[in-house]
């Protein structure tokens, strides 16, 4: 039986008629736009101006209207209707998005690949209208390592490879060593990383300056065995520092350092570091430092001791209230005024301290959120078991609180990585700074776009991977409450 066709209200009875007409109309409209965009052929150019412009949209709209049939019984059709074609407005938006994608593909493709140049090694090969990837190729080394001497770059590579492989140890640890992993990641790994970067990438004859620190640490650990546990906390803060100062400034003299110099590697000053490797170094150290500082600040903010509490509140609110760029300004122009004339702290170190303190305030607020979210019963239960402040926090409170705030901490870390380009304020050129430097090179004028696109893609990959990883971590540690 043939039903009457009502094109305003398609129904199931004449499914095939509606379906074929609709599909033909939609495909026709997409085909017109496709031809226009990819082959620059306008097959409807015989129509007057504005109609030929809107015709694909109108055709597609009618087509989508015709195939909008509820419960048609065809799986694919139902899926399409449910996802992109629920009503007229949605159909219109869907068409618009499809057309925009089709329209923007050819120019993007031609800029990125078809008309782009990558061969050769000078500006002259870039004759096409597309991107000049030769520029990236020639400058790649600088974008990665900054002004670091070419012959010495293996040191950076080696350090990063070593640190990356040392960082993955956690995945291979057997059950027996699992309990030491936290200690490894919080204490041992940062120290190893620090030594790598200090002695390998920097490569200075600074060894003996540190030997004071090592001697001081060893002596204080030995004496530490005889101190009653009540005062151990304060002891381990005060004594090593005092010993270090005593050893360095009272018992020994600067001349003695000369004796212990190791001249193995050429010294590269931090001003020459740069590019993506500097981004990694800065974010790596700030990550390591800002987490414990933030943790202590958040605990301090909830402390019962008024002095500690208000000190923490002041620190947190101060760093959160000012933009990072002014903090960096402070570290570069104001901070040297606060130091004795002969005392000089390296630019990179100042920057790392500044960013760490800045991000620590954000970490502190995130962790505080987790601490507040824990029910009071957890604290009471831990106390009723006779646990002290530190034991309660380390064994009961923090494991739960930190689990809760994984997404927040990951976001702060992401913000940190994205903030590293700001160190251009103090004259350190990581990848974005190197791009700006390369852009002004008279031999390579006019390739700003390529550089920024390249860096954007790099940062996107890094940050997107980080956010996906944090999402996985969150899922892994999610516990039902």
């Amino acid at each position: 039986m043939m039903n009457k066709l009502n094109f305003l209200q398609p129904d199931k009875n004449n499914l095939n008629t509606y379906l074929y007409t609709g599909v033909i109309l939609v495909s026709l409209s997409i085909f017109i736009v496709f031809l226009n965009s990819f082959f620059n052929k306008d097959i409807i150019s015989f129509l007057p101006g504005s109609i030929s412009f809107f015709l694909p949209l109108i055709l597609g709209f009618i087509g989508l209207h015709l195939i909008r049939i509820d419960y048609s019984g065809l799986k694919f059709l139902d899926r399409v209707n449910k996802n992109i074609n629920t009503n007229n407005f949605n159909a219109f938006l869907s068409l618009l998005i499809v057309f925009v994608i089709i329209k923007s593909l050819p120019p993007l493709l031609s800029w990125f690949i078809l008309d782009a140049n990558i061969a050769g090694d000078s500006k002259d090969v870039c004759t096409g209208s597309g991107a000049c990837w030769t520029y990236i190729k020639i400058w790649f080394n600088r974008f990665m390592y900054g002004m670091y001497p070419n012959a010495e770059q293996w040191r950076i590579n080696l350090s990063f490879i070593a640190l990356a492989s040392l960082g993955t140890i956690g995945f291979f640890a057997t059950e027996k060593f699992k309990k030491y992993l936290t200690l490894y990641y919080v204490v041992v790994y940062p120290v190893i990383a620090f030594f790598f970067i200090f002695f390998f990438i920097s490569g200075g004859p600074i060894f003996f300056d540190f030997s004071y620190g090592i001697i001081a640490a060893v002596i204080s650990v030995i004496i530490g065995f005889f101190i009653p546990s009540k005062f151990k906390m304060y002891y381990f803060i005060i004594v090593p520092i005092t010993l270090y100062i005593l050893l360095k400034y009272v018992f020994f003299y600067e001349e003695l350092i000369e004796l212990g110099k190791l001249e193995a590697l050429e010294w590269v000053e931090t001003g020459a570091w740069g590019g993506l490797s500097l981004t990694f170094i800065v974010s790596f150290f700030c990550l390591i430092f800002c987490f414990p500082i933030g943790l202590f600040l958040s605990l301090g903010r909830r402390s019962d001791f008024p002095v500690i509490k208000y000190f923490s509140i002041g620190m947190i609110e101060f760093w959160r209230g000012v933009p990072l760029i002014t903090v960096l300004f402070m570290s570069s122009v104001m901070f040297p005024m606060f130091l004795p004339e002969d005392m000089f702290i390296d630019k990179l170190v100042r920057v790392i301290i500044a960013i760490s303190l800045f991000e620590a305030a954000y970490v502190a607020e995130v962790i505080r959120g987790g601490l507040q979210a824990l029910p009071r019963g957890q604290y009471d239960a831990a106390k009723s078991l006779g646990m002290g402040y530190w034991k309660m926090h380390i064994l009961v409170i923090l494991p739960q609180a930190l689990k809760l705030v994984i997404p927040g901490i990951a976001n702060t870390f992401l913000a940190l990585v994205k903030d590293t380009p700001l160190i251009f304020v103090v004259g350190l050129l990581e990848i974005v700074g190197m791009l700006n430097l390369a852009k002004t090179n008279p031999e390579w004028l006019g390739f700003a776009m390529e550089g920024y696109v390249f860096a954007s893609v790099l940062f996107f990959i890094i940050c997107y991977a980080m956010s996906k990883y944090s999402y996985n971590l969150e899922q892994k540690y999610k516990t039902e409450r």
Partner: protein, 381 residues
């Protein structure tokens, strides 16, 4: 007293005092060596530098304090523009992410993931050095709608020339005040009699009618000044008349709003998703229309979740606007902590004023937020 309680506090205090003492002692010595005395008297001195773009009149003969004001106003300008556009884009994208249309949802998601994962500074550089540099020269520019000129030297828009502007402003203020009264009246009526008044249409009507009346009877008169091209030299052209938005402002506002919008979009999404489904079903079951459900049940609850993090994002945007220094947009950091600092060499005073400005801004906003949170918190019985 318990020694365990006193000792840590004393130690902290001691360390803080020691550090501060060390710093201030060194600062004193250093300043003595350089022959400068601490003080804010330099603020009234003549500044003798020029600023490219300022909302108030400024040249070398004005004081450093006025330079501070110029920077502050420019910061506020770009922040307000950024906040307006970030809110519009953020709300649209946030709602798009909740759409049941797969294509729209994906497009919004790609936008959010892409723009939030690229450093803001890189985006600013991209717009300023790459995208806006591709614009045509003033003499080659095709006008948009006949009156807007988007050139490499900036965006030239027509300006309004007003007669009796004050009467026009009064009419708008009068409209706003009467709208407030009507709202109060409508709420009372709703509470007492259960009758709804179409507040929105009345408000829009008032906002249109009163200014139109001021045009008809108040002697208010506005004419439009369209930018006109003018030759400066052999090959140098510019536009005269109208308002010029410098490319620094445009790229900064673009980058700030596109970047912050991604975060606002996530806030909006979280807020709307945070309203439990039962609320909507309950509202529908007592016979509210879909529009009423949205207006009276979903939105008030969603806003409670949306507004606090969004205010935080506004604050972030304002603080991020200090990145202007990287592309030489004369904001507070560039004018005051940059140029003025270089000229006077008073690092401590100037950096402290700059930081205090931002600090007071964010502290006042966080005080406001605490008050607001308390006010809108669900009062459980």
């Amino acid at each position: 007293m318990n020694i365990k309680k006193i000792l840590p506090q004393l130690l902290t205090l001691l360390v803080v005092i020691l550090i501060f003492g060390f710093f201030s002692y060194n600062a004193q010595v250093n300043m003595e060596n350089r022959g400068i005395t601490f003080g804010y008297g330099f603020l009234s001195q003549e500044s003798s530098f020029d600023v490219q773009f300022s909302l108030i009149e400024f040249d070398g003969s004005h004081s450093y304090f006025r330079a501070y004001l110029v920077g502050l106003l420019n910061t506020i300008l770009v922040s307000v523009i950024g906040i307006i556009f970030a809110t519009i884009i953020g709300v649209v994208v946030g709602i798009a992410r909740l759409s049941n249309n797969y294509l729209i949802e994906r497009t919004a998601a790609v936008y959010v993931e892409f723009f939030r994962n690229i450093p803001l500074l890189l985006q600013i550089f991209f717009w300023y050095f790459a995208a806006l540099r591709a614009l045509p020269l003033p003499q080659d520019t095709e006008p948009m709608f006949g009156v807007f000129f988007l050139t490499i030297k900036g965006f030239f828009v027509p300006a309004f020339v007003w007669n009796n502007l004050d009467i026009f402003i009064y009419s708008i203020i009068a409209a706003i005040i009467s709208i407030i009264f009507i709202r109060i009246y409508a709420r009372k009526k709703q509470e007492n009699e259960g009758i709804q008044t179409p507040v929105l249409s009345i408000s829009i009507g008032l906002l249109l009618i009163l200014p139109i009346l001021s045009f008809l009877f108040g002697g208010v008169d506005a004419s439009v000044e369209v930018p006109v091209i003018k030759q400066l030299s052999q090959s140098g052209f510019t536009y005269e008349g109208g308002i010029k938005l410098p490319p620094e402002l445009i790229s900064l506002a673009l980058a700030l709003s596109l970047y912050t919008a991604t975060f606002i979009a996530e806030c909006v999404r979280a807020g709307v998703q945070g309203v439990s489904k039962g609320q909507k079903e309950a509202a529908a079951s007592i016979g509210l229309t879909p529009n009423q459900v949205l207006k009276l049940v979903v939105m008030p609850q969603a806003l409670r979740i949306i507004i606090p993090p969004t205010t935080n994002q506004y604050l972030n945007l304002t603080k991020n606007s200090s990145l202007a220094a990287a592309i030489a947009y004369p904001d507070l950091v560039l004018v005051f902590a940059g140029t003025a600092l270089m000229q006077t060499g008073r690092a401590i005073e100037i950096v402290s004023i700059t930081m205090l400005t931002y600090l007071s801004l964010s502290i006042s906003i966080s005080i406001f937020m605490n008050w607001y949170n308390k006010k809108i918190a669900i009062k459980e019985k």
